[in-house]
């Protein structure tokens, strides 16, 4: 029931976010309509970080309590986390082609997002390789914790790596401060995505619970 309410809330918020991104937010003067990708791109990456924070909490919770519910939380958050990271990279690529002239560049933020993607794809691969629930949960929890602890280190190392080599000429609109209405539309879409994440996590955790019940 709670999941269903969350789902409807997410749908309403998504529609509102879509309306705001296309209806309320004005067309950007230089980039044109393509700039509206920001309303997908930034909320997606924020939601991915939120999901990976949930993976961390679930992993920590499992190792401390050994309650399978924590592991199901970690699993249920990791899958949409990877998807939202994928959306971030894909939408960034689509945005990059017309504005920077290239699908991909080894810019700091692109690289660290790609590394994040690889870490959690590895996490899901690991989960797929272990059948025994407690072993799977323990192994995954260790990777989930190290992965989260690594996020700031990856972030710093990659941004220094680029900064030391060449000035970031390719950074998009992030270098200029956003106007308040743009931030508001981004936040609205983030709220919608976060609700959607909550809905996915609740549904996925329920499926995992039924799977566990069936296997046990």
């Amino acid at each position: 029931m709670a999941a269903r309410i969350l789902g409807w809330l997410a749908l309403v918020a998504l529609l509102a976010g879509l309306g705001a991104a296309f209806g309320y937010a004005p067309r950007e003067a230089v980039q044109g309509n393509v700039q509206r990708i920001v309303y997908l791109h930034v909320p997606a990456v924020l939601t991915a970080y939120l999901a990976f924070a949930l993976v961390f909490v679930g992993s920590l919770g499992y190792l401390l309590t050994r309650r399978p519910g924590w592991d199901r939380l970690a699993l249920s958050a990791a899958e949409p986390g990877v998807v939202f990271t994928g959306i971030t990279i894909a939408s960034g690529s689509i945005w990059g082609k017309p504005t920077w002239g290239t699908w991909w560049t080894w810019d700091a933020r692109l690289t660290s997002t790609a590394v994040l993607f690889l870490v959690y794809v590895g996490y899901l691969l690991l989960r797929g390789m272990i059948d025994e629930p407690d072993r799977r949960a323990r192994a995954a929890a260790v990777v989930g914790i190290l992965g989260a602890a690594n996020i700031p280190i990856v972030h710093f190392s990659v941004s220094w790596w680029r900064a030391l080599h060449q000035p970031s000429a390719m950074i998009g609109p992030g270098s200029a401060p956003y106007p308040w209405w743009m931030k508001a539309v981004i936040l609205l879409n983030f709220a919608a995505f976060a609700l959607l994440l909550g809905y996915f996590v609740a549904r996925r955790a329920e499926i995992a619970r039924l799977e566990d019940m069936h296997a046990g």
């Binding site: 590394v115 691969l125 690991l126 072993r135 190290l146 280190i153 190392s157 220094w160 790596w161």
Partner: protein
């Protein structure tokens, strides 16, 4: 505390002794390093300037490739000889076992890295002597970071079906900061720049080492359960 150090030391001693008698890992790893040199040479061609430009990256590529093999074997002896329970049943704090295995891996990598440096110097006509003290510091910090994650994930994947595949897939993205930091610091050191130039990277490497070590020590007991 001394009991803790002793527990870690016993693990190191056991592994060094069995390695000294079998020479299983070390011989193959040094030979593998030699093969890597040939591969690099074939890939880059005879132009010496190209080799020198790519040298920091090549060195760490060789280290990480050798490390993937070495760290993946960390718990091979225990798994193949059914001694895993022996480790689990060992009394006291399990993180001592992690530190012992880690020290063994660092030791092994130190020998392999020394061999690789000598081989690079020989075959590519390079001179490392001027940069050596600073280079050793960079190598030590980088290797500790690689080994800290490598030892933990080596234990984690030791019992899995597809461990040869899964181990690098987990390890490589996790050690991206170490590789970036180590390659950049090596570059600066080999270019003869003062150590202060590489300081931000050395600090980052040290911070990464501490984080990986702490996570490894805290989570190892859950990995060891098998």
């Amino acid at each position: 505390m001394s009991a803790y150090v002793r527990r870690a030391w016993i693990v190191v001693w056991k592994d060094v002794l069995s390695e000294r008698r079998s020479k299983e890992s070390l011989n193959a790893l040094v030979f593998f390093s030699l093969l890597l040199l040939f591969v690099f040479q074939f890939a880059l061609g005879p132009d010496r300037a190209r080799v020198e430009t790519a040298l920091p990256g090549l060195l760490w590529l060789a280290f990480i490739l050798a490390g993937l093999l070495a760290f993946g074997r960390t718990f091979l002896v225990e798994r193949e000889n059914d001694c895993w329970e022996g480790l689990v049943l060992a009394p006291g704090d399990r993180s001592a076992i992690y530190l012992g295995k880690l020290a063994g891996n660092v030791l092994l990598m130190a020998v392999v890295e020394a061999a690789l440096l000598i081989l690079f110097a020989l075959f590519f006509g390079l001179d490392f002597t001027a940069a050596l003290p600073a280079l050793v510091l960079v190598l030590a910090l980088g290797t500790l970071g690689l080994a800290a994650v490598g030892t933990l994930y080596g234990a984690l994947t030791a019992q899995l079906r597809a461990r040869e595949l899964l181990f690098p897939v987990l390890l490589l993205p996790a050690v991206v900061p170490v590789l970036l930091g180590a390659v950049t610091a090596t570059q600066s050191v080999l270019a003869g720049q003062p150590l202060a130039e590489a300081m931000p990277w050395l600090t980052l490497l040290a911070a990464a080492d501490v984080v990986y070590l702490v996570v490894g020590m805290l989570t190892f007991e859950f990995v060891l359960e098998g």
